[in-house]
Structure formats: C-alpha cells, structure tokens
C-alpha cells in the first residue's frame, strides 16, 4: 500500500441533504482512514443509506463536499468516481453467468487478462465450480459473494456495502461477516458499510458511526460505543440499558426511589438535579433479599425471560407513590439455579459503579 495506515482516505464535509421538507442528513462530517472499515449504523430512516449513496454519487448532496484520496469528488458523476458497491438485493445481472457478472467491469481489458482476474476472484470467493451458472441457480450467500467479487474486480479504492447481509439467513450472515471482514483486511481496502444490525456493526467495524434522524449521534470503536454510549439512544440501540431517574445529592450520592446510593457523579451535574442513571443488564447483580444490605436497591422480580445462555430478570424497584421503575439484570444459568429466581421474589440489586452512565433527564438537550 502506498498510503500509510493513518492517512485519511475519505473526508465527508458538512454534508446536508433533504427530500422535500424532510432533512435526511444534517451537517454530516466524517473522516475515514486508509484501510478502515466503517459501519454506518442506525434505525431505518436515519439517513445512513442516503449518506452512502451520496458518497457513491448516486444521490446528490444539497450542500457539502466529499473528498476521496485528496480529490474533491463532490460533483463527479458515478462513473467518474472510484468505488465498488454491493447492494442488499445483490443486483447481479440475472441474464449473465457468474463469470460474466464478475468480468462486467473489465470489458476494456484483454481476454486473457480478464480470464485471469475472474479466476483469481472466483478462487477468493470459493465459487470456482460455479463460474458458468446463472445467479438464480446460486444461494443467497453465494450470490452476495459474486456481487462482492464483481465490485472488487476493478480494484476500486473504496468499497461501499449497502446492508449486504440483511437479506440472508442468520447462519450464512454470521459466516459471511467474518469472510468479508478478513477479505477487507487482506486487501486493505477502505470500506463503508451501512447496516441496521448492531451485532453486525460490532463484529465487523473498526469504527461505528451511529446515526439518528440525520444527525451523527456518536463515532467510535465498537468497545468505546458499547462502554461509553454518548446518549440513551446509542446505549439502547447497541445492547440494552436500563434507565433510572435519580436525584443527585451532595458527597457523590444519589437518591433512587428514596434509597441512597454512593457513586461518582460527572462534573456537569449539580446537586439537586434529577438525572438519568443508565446501567447495562450485565453490570447489575441481583441477590435474594436478606435484610438491609448497604449500597443496594431493593425491588421485586416482575418477569423472567429465558435467553439461552443466560436469564434476564425484569425487576421493579420498590416504591410507594411513583410509577414503577424497571431494571434489567442478566444472570447466568448456574446463578439462576442457585438462587431460584421467581416472579414476585424480593431482591437486592447492586450496581457496578464504573459501569454507571449518566444522562440529563429526557426532554433536556444533551
């Protein structure tokens, strides 16, 4: 590779886009490093696909610039840009064979060169024996591999993946995730992938861009985003999180439903504020209530959900006058056996201090 690892390959600068009255993208800025795999993650309608299509030139931004490898490509038509793209629908040419599909972008090359390239790619995706089949004769996963090979055939500088795995079965999807990821590593090709599946983003991305309503909510590595979600939205979109309204007291203490809890409050909190305490289910332990244990919250098991590898408890915090607050707790199967959790059982919750996240009360802007 000519470029060093940390060089910025693609810059998205202040991109705005609206369809009619709807602002689909609001002042989006983003830098992708050479060889990085970036996931645009968000619920449907968040603008992630539009952003990808703008980078491809399939959609024209209202404002802003796209700079690829130092060249401003903002106004270049699709065919003048340097990228390969894979769609959720595969978009293979149904009347051409697998080999003809892969060779489609190589039409100006000599026959021998073409054949060598196609064979190499067929080998990469492991479909050598299917070269002369039509797309409809392949499985979904195989078709998507062909689409990937076709996109890579012209050796593009940038690979764009638009929900490439969403149409596939769970097992195939998990397998292809790793396959795409390792192929991308091997080629060192800068890649932008759109997905609404947080597991996919977590397992594949070098960095994740979380989008919501046309705004970037957070950019970070999967572990940064999981352990330090920038907003309740991000926390809930990636993994699960319980939110408990709490009142900040002096000396780094909180009041939760008339119960006190020591913790480390962030700097922006002033004493007397009502804020939200966020906690992931795996950072809470629930033990059968035995008496007044200090630094624990008491509650009642409301519902038990079996999740396979673990059990999720939904616990209502004890409260006399207000609406119940629900906290999720993940318990592994052995612990579940040991304590014999049942509905309506009184429990005491301990929250891991380092795992607590604090957000302003809903309705206030961040």
């Amino acid at each position: 590779m000519a470029n060093s690892k940390h060089q910025i390959y693609l810059r998205v600068k202040n991109v705005n886009k609206s369809f009619g009255d709807v602002n689909v993208l609001n002042d989006i800025s983003l830098n992708c490093q050479q060889g990085e795999l970036i996931c645009l993650l968000g619920p449907s309608g968040c603008g992630k696909t539009t952003l990808l299509r703008i980078i491809a030139g399939l959609e024209q931004q209202d404002q802003g610039n796209i700079i690829q490898n130092g060249v401003d490509i903002s106004n270049l038509p699709v065919e003048k840009r340097d990228f390969g793209i894979v769609f959720q629908s595969y978009a293979l040419f149904p009347n051409l064979t697998v080999a003809q599909n892969i060779a489609y972008g190589l039409r100006k090359q000599t026959k021998t060169k073409k054949a060598t390239r196609v064979n190499a790619l067929l080998e990469t995706i492991g479909l050598e024996e299917h070269a002369d089949k039509y797309p409809s004769q392949l499985s979904g996963g195989q078709q998507q591999r062909v689409a990937l090979a076709r996109a890579l055939a012209i050796s593009p500088g940038l690979l764009l993946l638009d929900e490439p795995l969403s149409a596939l079965d769970t097992k195939v999807r998990q397998h292809l995730r790793q396959e795409i990821k390792s192929l991308q590593r091997e080629l060192g090709i800068t890649t932008i992938m759109v997905t609404h599946d947080q597991d996919e983003a977590m397992s594949m991305a070098d960095r994740i861009v979380v989008l919501k309503d046309g705004f970037i909510e957070q950019i970070g590595t999967p572990s940064e985003i999981y352990s330090n979600p920038a907003s309740p939205f991000v926390a809930n979109f990636i993994g699960s999180m319980s939110f408990v309204p709490v009142t900040a007291c002096a000396n780094d203490t909180l009041t939760v439903k008339q119960q006190n809890l020591p913790c480390k409050l962030p700097e922006w909190v002033t004493v007397g504020d009502t804020i939200q305490l966020g906690i992931r289910p795996e950072s809470v332990t629930a033990l059968p209530a035995k008496g007044n244990q200090q630094e624990a919250l008491s509650g009642k098991v409301q519902k038990i959900e079996f999740m396979g590898a673990y059990v999720r408890l939904y616990i209502h915090l004890n409260d006399e006058n207000m609406s119940p607050v629900r906290v999720m707790v993940d318990v592994n199967n052995e612990l579940h056996q040991e304590h014999g959790y049942k509905e309506n059982m009184a429990v005491e919750l301990t929250l891991k201090q380092q795992a607590m996240a604090f957000y302003p009360q809903q309705g206030e802007s961040l």
Binding site: N16, N31, A56, S89, A91, G105, I154, R207
Partner: protein, 565 residues
C-alpha cells in the same frame, strides 16, 4: 470517544442542477413527438368545434346548432343504451367465464382461454359480418330472433359483446387470479358458508377489477365504429355520426362537435378507472398464496357446459365469416369458391390494401415498440428532470381516453392545415403509422413500465460504479431481461394496426388504402362476401403473428432467458 470529524470549516457549495443532460434531451424529443402527435391535434379539434367555417371563434354556436337542427338526442340516447346493455352483457358473461377459469377444476382451461382471446385478432367488423350471415335478411338462423331485425341495437350489442369479450376477460381474470388462498382458509376456519364466502371474499377482492372492466367495456362500446357501421342500419350512434358528418357531408365543424360529445364520457370513465386503479394498489398483497380450487362436481359440470357454449359462440362468430368468404352466393349457391379473394376485381383497394396493412402494421410494431421502450426507459431508468418525467407519464395515459374516431379527425384538422409544416405527412403511410402508434400508446407504455420497474434499479448503479456506460448495460442486461415485454408490445401494436378502423378511416389516401378500411368499404358497397374474405385475411395474419409471437417467446426466449429457470 474519538470523534475525528473535520473541525475546519468549509464554505458549503450549492450544487447546480444540470438541465441539458442527454437523458433530458432525449425525453424532450419524446415529449415533442407526443405534443405533435397528440396534444396539438386534440387542441385543434377542440378549437374547430368552437369555430365557424372561416375559422373564427363562435363559442358554443356549433353545439347549439347541432342540438337544434339534427337529432343528436336520438344518437346520444342510442349510444348510451348500447353502451349500458352491452357492458352489462359482457361483464356477466366474462365474470362467469373468468370464474370458471380460476375457481373450478374444469378440463381444457388453456383451450378455453385461447378461444376467448381470438376476438382480439379480428377487426370489429368481422363479428358484424358474421351476424349478417347468421341473422340478416338471408341469414341462416334468423328465425331465432323471432321477427326482430338484426340490423339495429340487437346486432350492435351482439357484435360488440363478441369484440369486447377478451378485453373485459383480461381484467376480470387478473382480478380473480390474485385472490389470496389464505382468505378462503380463514373463512373455512371461521365456519363461513359458501355463499357468505363468495360475498365477503370473492366479490370484494374482484370489485375493482369488475368496475375497471365495466368502464373499459363501456368506453369500447360507445366509441366503436365498425360494428354499428356494418350492422347498425338506421340505428345511429355518435361514432357513426362523426363518420357521416365528415365523410358523407364534409361537415367538419359538426364532426368536431360530435367528437367532443363522444370524448366527454370516454374521459370521464377513464378518470374514474384511473382513480380506482390507484386505490386498488393498496389491496394487492405480494405475499398472497395463489388460490387452489377444490373439486365440486356439480359446479364444475355447469361451468364446463357454460364455457363450451360461450367458446362455441365465439368460434361460430369467427367461423361464419371465414366460411362465408368461400361461398359463391350466400344462401342460394353454397358452392365453395376462391372468387371472393380476387380483391383486384372489387372496389376497395384490392390486394394492395392488404399489403398496405401489412406494411403499416410492421412499421407500427417496429417504430411503436422502439418509441415506447425509449420513452419508458428514459423515464424509469435515467436521471431526468422530474417535470419531464411527470409530463411524459401524464401524456402517456391520454391516448387511452381518446376514441379512435376523435383522434383520426383531430389528425385531419392538424396535419391537413395548410400552415402546418408537417402537412406533407397527410395522406402518407407515415401518418397512418403515427396515428396508430399514438392511439394504442397507453397500454404499451404501461406494459413497458411494469416490466422495467421489475428490473432492480441497483443494476444501473452497479454498472455505473463499474464504469460501464449505461447504454452498454441497456443492451447487455436491461433489454434481454425485458424481452418478453418488448415482444408483447410489438405483437400488440401489430395486431391492433391490422385490425383498427377508427382512426385510420379518416387518414388513408388512395395509395395507402388499408385492409380494414377495405372491409368497411366493400361492405358499404354491398360486396359482403369479399368483405368477409378481407376480414378473414386480417384474422389469419393476426393469428399468424400470434403464432410467431408464441414461437419467439418459447424458442428464442428459451435461449436468452435461460437464467429464468
């Protein structure tokens, strides 16, 4: 958090929209052709209806005059009477027929379907001629009418019913075939009776199809000219009035007035139909499982007898005209002869009329298909200005609402105008082709649109990303994928060009006499056997086209569409 979003500010640049892209220019050209071939002639005919012979604007005077001096109420009344009677007849006949094809286990469905579509291959004059042979003054079985004359409403209704049958059947058949099996299973689970099921599931799901078929048939019947011309006798309808005013009395202003009167109901039914179709879209569930009829002996026997009867009548209507064309002198000398096919000895253009028709149909199929594919591809698959796209899509629907007679007359006004630089087209083969391409444009446009919409739009995006020009992808991928629809359009244009009389009856010249017009003229002159012979030639040619089309679809397509397995 490592938010490394660019912090330096850039002045955002508003991207200018390009107007003169190749796509826009091509569509602009398509729009120009539609304006010249459709909009301007229609404006001219409207203008004519409001002007006097000197071309001065006189408001509604022509209309008032027409209503005071002629007997227009008689024609209007007749037109609607025929329209309503025929429509009800056709809808009940086709509904049961379609029901049998979709909801029973009768044998021979394919053959019944084939027979039901035969009338499309014949000009509307053909059933009228058959009726003359069967029920006319020398008719074989005129006793069946019990003294009533076939020359009048009875004949018109029967002829039109035959001719409209396949048109209504296509729509109702589609409506009945999309019903979801699961709805019937739900009915069973809920213990609903057969009758309840029919009224709560079958009828509602076919409702829009039925209404649509109703409107289409109504428009066809009030605007058809061939049947009432041949068998209408003194029973005047608006379509024959236009012909009489223009060809008989050279009274173009009144012709324009009657055209406006005929255009109005056609436009209205068309508008209602469009509205209903747009509503129907929400009803179709693409995950529906197709209906599998159960065995029911009584029902199947009754429906089978019904289908036999109906298809027997259809075959009789076609067979009689063909048979009669080989008869020396019906009914006195029933010897077989080929004399009626010696068209050169008759008034009506001779064999050259037939070859003109063949030529016209071939050009229409060729140019029409190219024109449709070009305009639909441009609107569906190329980035073009949205006002152009919407303009074309709107204009594309218009021809369906315009009766052929009206379009033909409009062409006279527009292309025969001395100041029109295009008036060299008048009387040429080209104007016949243009009028036919425009007249049948809507259905072709919709067929092509449906077909192209099924082609994944990401295909164009992918090929652009692979730096392959779009026209290469058009020929290598899009066209091969849409080949069945393209053949469909070509066939539709060919057959309609062979059989149409309505628009071209005003536009042919002595050099470009057409077979369908020759049928009309020979019948007019009393040469009914040669008329039957020429109608037979048209029918055979259409049938040959149908067979060729079928062979192409099966043979050649099998090769290029191998991927469809």
């Amino acid at each position: 958090m490592t938010n490394i979003a660019a912090t330096f500010s850039v002045v955002p640049k508003v991207v200018p929209k390009k107007a003169f892209t190749p796509g826009n220019l091509i569509l602009l050209f398509v729009l120009l052709l539609l304006v010249l071939g459709l909009v301007l002639p229609m404006l001219m005919i409207g203008d004519f209806s409001l002007s006097n012979k000197a071309g001065e604007f006189i408001g509604l005077t022509n209309f008032l005059e027409y209503f005071s001096t002629q007997s227009p109420l008689y024609s209007i009344g007749n037109t609607f009477k025929i329209g309503i009677i025929t429509t009800l007849l056709v809808i009940s006949l086709t509904f049961i027929y379609a029901y049998a094809l979709n909801r029973s286990q009768i044998p021979g469905k394919k053959i019944f379907k084939l027979v039901a579509f035969l009338p499309i291959l014949a000009p509307s004059l053909m059933p009228a001629i058959s009726l003359v042979y069967l029920f006319g003054n020398q008719g074989l079985i005129k006793e069946i009418l019990m003294g009533e004359s076939i020359y009048g409403p009875i004949g018109i209704a029967m002829g039109l019913a035959f001719w409209c049958f396949p048109h209504a059947l296509i729509i109702i058949n589609t409506a009945l075939s999309v019903t979801d099996q699961r709805l019937y299973e739900s009915c069973k689970a809920l213990n609903a009776s057969k009758l309840e099921t029919f009224f709560t599931v079958t009828l509602p799901s076919a409702k829009y199809g039925l209404i649509s078929a109703l409107l289409v048939t109504f428009t066809l019947t009030i605007t058809d000219f061939g049947v009432p011309k041949v068998i209408g006798g003194q029973f005047n309808v608006l379509a024959t009035d236009i012909y009489k005013q223009v060809v008989g009395q050279q009274n173009f202003q009144t012709g324009a007035v009657v055209s406006m009167l005929l255009l109005l109901p056609a436009l209205m039914t068309f508008a209602i139909d469009r509205y209903l179709r747009s509503k129907q879209k929400d009803m179709v569930d693409h995950r529906a499982t197709p209906y599998q009829p159960e065995k029911n002996h009584l029902r199947d026997t009754l429906l089978f007898i019904y289908c036999l009867l109906v298809s027997g009548v259809i075959l009789a209507f076609i067979g009689t005209a063909i048979y009669a064309s080989f008869i020396s002198f019906w009914p006195y000398n029933m010897d077989l002869t080929l004399a009626n096919y010696q068209f050169e000895f008759m008034d009506g253009g001779g064999w050259s009329a037939y070859f003109n028709s063949l030529e016209m149909a071939a050009w229409t199929a060729l140019f029409g298909t190219c024109f449709v594919v070009l305009s639909v591809y441009m609107t569906e698959k190329v980035k073009v200005s949205s006002w152009l796209r919407r303009g074309i899509q709107g204009l594309a629907l218009m021809p369906m609402a315009i009766p052929g007679m009206v379009l033909g007359l409009a062409y006279i006004f527009f292309f025969n105008h001395p100041d029109n630089p295009l008036n060299f087209l008048y009387g040429s083969m080209a104007i016949l082709v243009i009028s036919t391409v425009i007249h049948y444009y809507t259905v072709c446009h919709m067929t092509a649109t449906t077909s192209l919409k099924q082609v994944d739009s990401a295909i164009e995006s992918v090929s652009a990303s692979l730096k392959v020009p779009q026209w290469v992808t058009f020929f290598k991928v899009t066209m091969p994928m849409s080949l069945p629809a393209v053949l469909d359009i070509g066939f539709y244009y060919f057959v309609n060009a062979m059989t149409t009389v309505s628009a071209v009856v005003f536009l042919y010249s002595s050099d470009t006499m057409l077979a369908s017009v020759a049928v009309l003229n020979m019948d007019d002159a009393g040469d009914i056997a040669p008329a039957a012979a020429m109608a037979t030639m048209i029918f055979i040619t259409s049938a040959a086209a149908k067979i060729l089309y079928g062979a192409l679809s099966h043979g050649v397509l099998k090769r290029t569409q191998a991927w469809r397995r």
